[in-house]
């Protein structure tokens, strides 16, 4: 299936998803669905760097929150519509990704990972000390009742916007997989020294992957303030994003775009359902345990259990 057909298929599935949610008629479906979609975008974004090139980002929360807080700043300063705020959130996170990468990607992958961990702490500290966005007290964002132009409930609008982002991110991930770029990424993951000797500009590609991954994470976080209406560092930098960003792709399978989708839908839905019955901390503990279990027992994730394995199918 070529790229255009895949995008069409995604659009059809997206439209069907929206239609189904609308038909059910319960606002909760949109609220819960938004979170699952957000995680699909986040997990796929992580996988573009982690799964394809093998460089592990533990600071998902930082990139995600930067997108959210960009929206807070833009909301206070301008009247931009959400679809324009998202690319800006993406640019902010993308630049931070580029910067982090530039400083650490010449060295072995472990240092990049450690830097992302430390980065998460630092960014959270900076935001917590920044009064303009509310600091530790948080910021209130008024969610409009109805969406501009479309007139639907705003929560449905958020759902739709996130659906759109998911289509873009998935289409990008799949396009990369099948392209010259995708081969370059794979060789970086398999043997970086041999990749260089084969003519692959590894540093440039790693920076590209880091920037793209960070940007998509920022875009996934950008609508959050409108969703939660109250954003403070504790929720913006929630441990949930840190662990899910890593767990969902690893549980689903990192070898293709489908893995993070499976992982996000599975873990995301589980958590949405479980939040009602158990505490959020216990919820996260289960995710953490699943991460460790899968990484030890099923290194290729759910995709691997069904034979898709480490070898990626190419058209």
């Amino acid at each position: 299936m070529n790229g255009t057909k895949f995008v069409l298929l995604l659009l059809i599935v997206a439209a069907a998803t929206y239609g189904a949610a609308w038909a059910i008629g319960n606002a909760y479906v949109f609220f819960a669905g938004y979170i699952v979609l957000q995680y699909i975008a986040l997990a796929t974004a992580w996988n573009i760097l982690g799964g394809y090139t093998g460089y592990v980002n533990f600071g998902t929360a930082a990139f995600f929150a930067l997108g959210a807080y960009s929206t807070v700043v833009l909301h206070k300063l301008t009247n931009l519509p959400l679809p324009l705020m998202m690319p800006i959130g993406g640019i902010v996170s993308g630049l931070v990704g580029l910067g982090t990468g530039y400083l650490t990607l010449r060295l072995r992958g472990a240092f990049f990972s450690i830097a992302t961990l430390a980065l998460a702490v630092v960014v959270q500290t900076l935001i917590t000390n920044w009064d303009f966005v509310g600091g530790s007290r948080g910021a209130y964002i008024v969610r409009p009742m109805k969406a501009p132009l479309l007139g639907i409930d705003y929560i449905q609008y958020l759902f739709l916007v996130m659906l759109g982002l998911v289509v873009i991110v998935l289409a990008t991930a799949r396009a990369i997989e099948r392209s010259r770029l995708g081969y370059g990424f794979a060789t970086i993951r398999d043997d970086e020294v041999a990749a260089e000797a084969s003519g692959v500009p590894t540093l440039r590609l790693k920076l590209l992957a880091t920037t793209l991954s960070g940007a998509f994470m920022g875009m996934a976080g950008a609508p959050l303030p409108y969703y939660v209406t109250y954003l403070d560092p504790a929720s913006g930098f929630s441990l949930a994003y840190a662990v899910n960003g890593v767990a969902m792709p690893l549980v689903g399978g990192t070898s293709s775009w489908l893995g993070p989708v499976i992982g996000a839908i599975l873990l995301g839905t589980l958590q949405q359902v479980a939040t009602v019955t158990i505490s959020s901390a216990l919820n996260l503990l289960i995710v953490g345990l699943m991460l460790v279990a899968f990484v030890i027992v099923a290194p290729n994730g759910i995709l691997g259990l069904f034979g898709a394995g480490a070898k990626r199918a190419r058209a």
Binding site: A194, S198, P201, L203
Partner: protein, 241 residues
């Protein structure tokens, strides 16, 4: 033969902490030449290759290739200039098929445009080393010897002007050695300069127009193969009495 050498190594030196791996290496390779490089294990042959190709940084000396100074250039830039190498210990891309392994250098360092041309060339390259029937397999299905052949195919896929074959024949049967030798000579006839690093003296003598000997990080001989192999220093250090 043109005036200036294709590859020119001047006073190259490399240390690992306190250990001197290479010292004051001068080497000139002319276009179209077939150079043999021999020496005991640990003499620095692979280190020299790594330094020339940019996988390792050397502290002293310089390397010039095709009129460009290579100092400061990354390995991939050097490959793109036309300097390719195979690895002594094969380093295949384990999650890619053989065809895909060979495709990567074609995509990134080769001189092709259409997908069809690349596809054809992939199979041709694998065919040259006798691996065409395994093009859809993964490297883990290969024997050690087949992995060496893949290494060579991958180096050739970068359409190099100069190819360094680092012990590509180790462990091959005499018939296979002849096959690879014939392949390298054919490449050379097509205009590719080749540096052959080997322990199999029969192959080295048959192949080389010039022979260089490296011992303990120093070049101790450089010249006509027949003369070099009778050099007493070479005999003492490497060939045996």
């Amino acid at each position: 033969m043109p005036d200036s050498p294709l590859l020119e190594v001047s006073a190259l030196g490399k240390r690992f902490g306190g250990f001197v791996a290479l010292e004051a290496i001068d080497l000139a390779v002319h276009t179209g030449e077939r150079l043999g490089l021999i020496g005991p294990n640990g003499s620095g042959k692979s280190t020299l290759v790594n330094c020339m190709c940019g996988t390792l940084r050397h502290e002293m000396g310089s390397v010039r290739f095709a009129g460009h100074t290579l100092n400061g250039l990354s390995a991939h830039e050097r490959t793109r200039l036309g300097l390719a190498r195979s690895f002594q210990l094969p380093r295949p891309f384990n999650t890619l098929t053989l065809a895909e392994n060979v495709r990567v250098p074609l995509l990134y360092a080769g001189r092709h445009d259409t997908a069809r041309a690349i596809d054809t060339h992939c199979i041709e390259l694998l065919d040259m080393v006798g691996l065409a029937d395994k093009s859809k397999r993964l490297p883990r299905d290969l024997t050690q010897i087949e992995m060496r052949k893949l290494e060579l195919a991958r180096a050739m896929a970068a359409t190099p002007r100069l190819l360094i074959a680092d012990e590509a024949m180790a462990g091959l049967s005499p018939g296979e050695v002849d096959d690879i030798l014939a392949l390298l000579i054919r490449l050379n006839e097509q205009g590719v300069t080749v540096i052959l690093i080997e322990h199999i003296m029969r192959a080295v003598m048959h192949f080389s127009q010039r022979l260089v000997v490296l011992v303990a990080g120093h070049k101790i001989a450089d010249g006509d193969p027949a003369v070099v192999v009778r050099d007493p220093d070479v005999v003492r250090a490497y060939l045996g009495e």
